[in-house]
């Protein structure tokens, strides 16, 4: 994971355009409601880059850096939630 300066704020995570039939820019992605990048089985997982906390360090995570490995991507409602 690349070292990152621990400023008060970091750029929010963003979905990365992957070319092809999908919009070439994030602005285009927003304009059409992001509908072309909705996750589906059998289709490429939308790539993204975002700040993360990993093993005591802050740094950015990019999904496509894990190409070649099996990945389980889990979303959850929030830190300190009960379930």
């Amino acid at each position: 994971m690349p070292e990152a300066a621990t400023g008060c704020v970091a750029p929010a995570g963003s979905v990365l355009a992957t070319g092809g039939p999908e919009p070439a820019t994030l602005a285009a992605h927003r304009q059409n409601g992001g509908s072309t990048m909705t996750a589906r089985v059998g289709k490429p997982a939308p790539d993204f880059e975002a700040p993360a906390f990993t093993n005591g360090e802050f740094g950015n995570i990019k999904l496509s850096d894990y190409r070649g490995q099996w990945v389980v991507l889990c979303f959850y409602p929030g830190d300190f939630t009960f379930v």
């Binding site: 994971m1 970091a10 929010a12 995570g13 963003s14 979905v15 992001g34 990048m37 909705t38 996750a39 589906r40 089985v41 059998g42 289709k43 490429p44 997982a45 939308p46 790539d47 993204f48 975002a50 700040p51 993360a52 906390f53 990993t54 093993n55 802050f58 995570i61 999904l63 496509s64 894990y66 190409r67 070649g68 490995q69 099996w70 990945v71 389980v72 991507l73 889990c74 979303f75 959850y76 409602p77 929030g78 830190d79 300190f80 939630t81 379930v83």
Partner: protein
């Protein structure tokens, strides 16, 4: 089994750090060994169809992604019910087996159990090798 876990919520990375140190480390010695991703704008959750606009959080969705970056399985739950990791592991093992062998796994398959080899000879004869009791 070789599966990388990535977890994401709309919390900041600072919140992730404190949660790891104050609570998770008391459940798992040393804390959880995978990245906690900050999806502060919900943009990633939106792309995966799990961002809830009303509450401003990513609901419980999990996506099994193969080495080519293709989604092979997904599950999305509303917040009050937690996940079952056993089924996730079973699915990962089944998809890995399918990728390695080209065989297919019938309902309820577990590692070491019989698989099916699709082809003309199998049509109408699944009943010979697979019984409903094997579904769970």
């Amino acid at each position: 089994m070789g599966v990388q876990v990535l977890a994401a919520s709309t919390d900041s990375r600072f919140s992730h750090k404190v949660w790891q140190e104050a609570e998770l480390a008391k459940m798992v010695p040393g804390g959880v060994p995978f990245p906690l991703i900050s999806d502060a704008t919900g943009q990633i959750g939106r792309a995966y169809g799990v961002y809830d606009e009303e509450s401003g959080v990513d609901i419980r969705g999990r996506f099994l992604i193969d080495p080519d970056g293709v989604i092979q399985a997904m599950e999305v739950l509303t917040p009050p019910v937690g996940r079952n990791v056993t089924e996730l592991i079973r699915q990962a093992q089944a998809f890995q087996h399918v990728r390695e062998t080209g065989e297919v796994t019938p309902a309820g398959w577990q590692p070491g159990k019989p698989t099916l080899k699709p082809g003309p000879d199998l049509v109408g004869r699944v009943w010979e090798s697979w019984k409903p009791a094997m579904a769970s």
